[in-house]
């Protein structure tokens, strides 16, 4: 079980790393105080509106680490270079996903060559160009994707998630 334990540890480290990333993100939002924060329309729970990046931060097919809806929920933004499912921005090509596998909570890695997220735990794969569709795997859901908006400054805001995140029974903790 050495490898398995290792994966759990990696998972924990990933969560910690997520914390660090979002600490920075939270600071960025703080400096934006006063700007109109997009929030999600009426829903089951109130998601925070959170600025994740500016479109200038993104390069085609290079994952940009973020965390949403809070520090303990790592994810990425991706600019795909062509319009894709759920894509926003001037080219309809910016998407954001959780990077925790919805099967057992292991951290996914992104393979730029075929634009997939891959889970070392049980080999699940998700397609970044098809709304996080599970290409193959053991998860009972497709990859949670962010609801994104881009404002006039090119800031990318997250306002919701379309599936339950692994490891929490409410996407917004509390």
């Amino acid at each position: 079980m050495k490898r398995c334990r290792l994966m759990v540890e990696v998972g924990r480290r990933q969560f910690l790393r997520g914390t660090a990333v979002t600490a920075a993100g939270a600071a960025a939002v703080a400096t934006m105080a006063g700007a109109a924060k997009p929030t999600r329309a009426a829903g089951a729970i109130a998601y925070p509106g959170k600025k994740l990046a500016n479109i200038r931060d993104l390069q085609v097919n290079v994952p940009f680490d973020v965390a949403y809806p809070d520090d303990d929920a790592p994810g990425v933004l991706l600019k795909m270079g062509h319009a894709v499912d759920g894509g926003v921005g001037p080219d309809g090509d910016i998407v954001g996903f959780s990077t925790i596998c919805p099967h057992k909570g292991f951290p996914l890695h992104y393979v730029a060559e075929d634009r997939t997220f891959n889970c070392p735990g049980h080999y699940s794969r998700f397609d970044a160009e098809k709304g996080g569709l599970q290409i193959w795997g053991q998860a009972t859901m497709n990859l949670p994707q962010y609801e994104l908006h881009v404002d006039e400054n090119g800031d990318i805001w997250a306002t919701g998630v379309d599936e339950l995140l692994y490891g929490r029974l409410s996407n917004v903790l509390g």
Binding site: P107, M141, N142, Q145
Partner: protein, 847 residues
């Protein structure tokens, strides 16, 4: 857009939720689950004292957390008439799956019947009969009276051979000891029905006659053996997709070297290494890829043999290993028929060259070796794999390690069971396992890996005979007057399906037309009209199932069954681990357990026979006064199964998801059932003298009629099988959004160069056609596919692969689905529901 549930939160399980023992319904592995239910009007909280897990749920939980469940594990169902929340989540304490849930089992929650959330509302809730030109609801008594009267009249005119039966014989949902006993007591006890077949094959026969004839029961090892083996030989099986958590929780740890400590502890007197694996499969599967990821490519040997040539490979391995002196001489001497052929041996051996049923003979090892002798070069040529790879396989299987015998586990499944020359091929595998002393010992075993769980207890089927009647062919040729179907859908899962459906529709339509000609309420006139149609070649069909089926479209009566969880149900898994799934929710409407439907049908047949004055025959339908499934269990398993006297519901519930391994040996001081981890650990095999047999298994090319010609006439091999997302779960998944969004049509894996030649794009709908019929599939570009060799998803509702499988079977009426050849042509561009899916490789890629 990929399907998303848009579920942001789930109700929290309160500390006082009811807990039930359950197993996954679907595949042979039988993963353990815990079922939690609590009243719909309340829930727990995030504080440790407010939830069943005792943890702070306001915090993110780590990977592999037991304190999380997915939306697919949740639902709202009825329990004793009240609405309750339900969570069905994998049990971390179950030794089978160790907390893992597959994409099938981890959806048990949302695959439950719920009038609140609308899931599985297609379930049958009431008996339905053909009335005024359509299926209409009726009462149990009305439906069973009609079935009993027609069945009795048919038997009176044609004998019991006029009653045809298709019935499950397995465990899990749509089976289990209660229900195989209920149906078995009816058809093999009260009656002696011969024209009976099983859900996935056109006769009543074993899938592994050869192994049983050799004295080797096919589920003879423990899942732990996959952790202890030096080498696993996986033949015609794609275990990551079809025995998922067996593979993940037991094979993978061995390949990673994580079981080394356990090996040293349990087997201290020999050297140990991380496990190796040999995979015999014409196709590169996700299993091959996962093994390479875990063990490294140098410890994985994929023998991508020509389809149907397994037997040659195993004969060559046996030859090489024997010539090297790596066989287990002591084992052969002590526990098998021995080296020399004894005079005048016993049981049936139909596939021996020149042998007949009247001339059985079991040869000694030396004669078998001489007859089966196959050189490595010959095998390389026939199997189409490099000679050095076959030699490497022989070393991995049997080369002694530090002077000690190598431990090798052989696991096989449908690639050979539904493959060429089933009897001899399986015999050739068992030969090698016996010769290397790998049965009944730690790290060994020669096992089928299995489809469904098992759950068989029935009165003797000896009257069926061997070979058993080829039921599909008899139905096609106009035989039989009434057909009782239990949890089977031949329209999706039989061979020669195109022809079967054509004839079946014609015959059952004759009865429908006859039924339309008389008022439904005039029972006597109705039965007379049905009988008149039967005499003209019609067929009266009764479908017992939990959901509407494809074959049900052409039936006259539907009887609604309860499934596992809506009734208490017992089964055993692929290591003979027997558990109970407790009833945790109500069945839909008037649905009843199959065993009780069988009992009530028996009651009605007895009544009808007494009305006719045939008391002698009526007396045979006594003994069906069961009120509950537990009554059927006590009448069946408890009284008739080997060791059954030790097994009760109460004891099984106490033993939870770990149960015990059959057969039961007794009860320990704590009242727990003592099981049997491995069969044949004492060296006594399942033959009259306790000695295992060897078998002459000579190569005879493509054995089933019509296959060689089909191979010559058509370009593409249409290899076929199952897929991870949907496996033993199609009957629910046909309207599960997650699954149908991924696989709206059956995929056809195809080499991109072949696609280019036929002008095909990813997702195009193609027709697959040959001399047996035609079907459709969705092209999935697969660079690892060999040229001219495709792989099609089996049993899909929107493209039935069985349509193009010809009627050729082996001498024991085992179908041959795998060796099918056909041509392929484009029908249409990818439809809208295909254009949105992904056609990327299914193989995991490392960082």
């Amino acid at each position: 857009m990929a399907y998303k549930r848009n579920v942001d939160r789930l109700p929290i399980i309160p500390p006082d939720a009811k807990e039930h023992v359950a197993m996954c319904h679907f595949c042979i592995v039988g993963c353990g689950y815990k079922v939690y239910t609590w009243d719909a009007n309340r829930e727990g909280g995030t504080a440790p004292s407010e939830n069943i897990f005792g943890v702070d749920l306001s915090k993110q939980q780590p990977a592999d957390s037991p304190a999380w469940y997915a939306p697919s594990m949740y639902n709202i169902v009825k329990q004793n008439g009240r609405d309750v929340h339900i969570v069905i989540k994998p049990d971390p304490d179950c030794v089978v799956n160790k907390g893992l849930g597959s994409i099938r089992g981890a959806r048990l929650g949302e695959l439950s019947y719920s009038t609140i959330t609308g899931t599985q509302t297609k379930r049958l809730t009431d008996p339905m009969v053909w009335r005024y030109g359509q299926m209409q609801p009726t009462s149990w008594d009305d439906a069973l009276d009609l079935v009993a009267r027609v069945t009795v009249r048919v038997i009176k005119e044609y004998g019991e051979d006029g009653l045809f039966v298709s019935a499950f014989d397995h465990g899990g949902a749509g089976g289990g000891y209660e229900n195989t006993w209920g149906t078995g007591k009816l058809y093999f006890g009260a009656m002696k029905v011969r024209n009976i077949r099983i859900h996935n094959r056109p006769a009543y026969n074993s899938e592994v006659h050869a192994s049983r004839d050799m004295g080797v029961g096919e589920l003879n090892n423990a899942y732990e053996d996959a952790e202890l083996a030096d080498t696993i030989v996986a033949i015609g099986t794609n275990a990551l997709e079809t025995q998922t958590n067996y593979f993940l929780a037991h094979w993978v740890p061995n390949l990673r070297g994580e079981t080394l400590e356990k090996k040293k502890q349990l087997l201290p007197d020999e050297p140990h290494e991380p496990g190796r694996i040999i995979i015999v499969d014409p196709r590169r599967t996700v299993t091959v890829n996962a093994c390479e990821v875990e063990a490294g490519k140098d410890r994985v040997l994929h023998l991508a043999i020509n389809s149907g040539t397994d037997l040659v490979l195993f004969n060559a391995l046996l030859t090489y290993i024997a010539d090297k002196g790596w066989i287990d001489r002591e084992f052969i001497e002590k526990y098998t028929v021995g080296f020399e052929t004894p005079p005048g041996e016993a049981p049936m051996f139909p596939a021996r060259p020149g042998g007949t049923f009247d001339e059985p003979r079991w040869p000694g090892f030396n004669e078998v070796l001489a007859a089966n002798r196959t050189s490595i070069e010959e095998a390389a040529q026939i199997c189409g794999v490099p000679a050095e790879d076959i030699v490497k396989a022989a070393h991995w299987i049997a080369e002694p390690k530090g002077g000690k015998r190598r431990r090798t586990m052989f696991g096989y499944e449908k690639g050979v069971i539904w493959g060429n020359d089933n009897y001899r091929t399986i015999g050739s595998i068992v030969n090698l396992a016996l010769a290397t002393g790998n049965i009944g010992r730690e790290g060994g075993g020669c096992v089928r890996l299995g489809g469904h769980q098992e759950g068989y207890v029935r009165p003797s089927d000896a009257h069926v005979g061997r070979p058993a009647p080829y039921v599909d062919q008899l139905l096609i040729s106009g035989k039989g007057g009434v057909h009782h179907i239990w949890g089977c859908d031949h329209y999706k899962t039989t061979l020669n399906a195109h022809e079967f459906k054509r004839v079946y529709k014609r015959r059952t339509d004759m009865v429908k037309d006859a039924m339309n000609s008389v008022p439904y309420g005039d029972r006597e006139a109705m039965v007379d009209a049905i009988m008149a149609a039967i005499r003209m070649g019609g067929l009266f069909a009764v479908d017992v199932d939990i959901v509407p089926t494809k074959i049900g479209q052409h039936c006259h009566v539907w009887l609604p069954a309860a499934t596992q969880g809506e009734m208490n149900l017992t089964s055993m898994n692929g290591e003979r681990r027997m558990r109970i799934t407790q009833r945790y929710m109500d069945p839909p409407g008037q649905a009843m357990p199959d065993c009780l439907i069988a009992a009530r049908l028996a009651n009605h047949m007895e009544r009808v026979l007494r009305e006719m004055g045939d008391h002698e025959y009526a007396d045979r339908f006594k003994g069906f006064d069961w009120k509950t499934e537990e009554d059927a269990f006590m009448d069946g398993y408890h009284k008739h199964a080997h060791g059954g006297e030790f097994v009760t519901y109460e004891r099984l519930i106490a033993m939870g998801t770990n149960g015990f391994q059959e057969p039961a040996q007794g009860i320990d001081a704590n009242g727990r059932i003592i099981g049997t981890p491995r069969l044949y650990a004492d060296g006594r095999f399942s033959t009259p003298d306790g000695k295992a047999r060897f078998m002459i298994t000579q190569w005879r090319g493509l054995q089933a009629p019509g296959k060689e010609e089909q191979k010559r006439r058509y370009r593409f091999l249409i290899n076929n099988g199952r897929a991870n997302a949907v496996w033993q779960s199609w009957y629910y998944d046909v309207d599960n959004r997650l699954v149908m969004d991924r696989w709206p049509y059956p995929f056809l894996e195809m080499n991109p160069e072949d696609m280019k030649e036929l002008g095909l794009q990813a997702g195009d709908i193609v027709e697959v056609y040959n001399d047996a019929g035609a079907t459709q599939a969705m092209v999935y570009p697969t660079p690892t596919a060999k040229r001219n060799e495709t792989f099609m998803l089996f049993a899909a509702p929107r493209g039935v692969m069985g349509n193009v499988v010809n009627d050729g079977v082996n001498e024991l009426v085992i179908p041959n689905y795998k060796q099918t050849w056909a041509n392929i042509r484009k029908i249409a561009d990818a439809p809208a529901d295909v254009r949105r899916i992904s056609f990327k490789s299914k193989e995991y890629r490392s960082a």
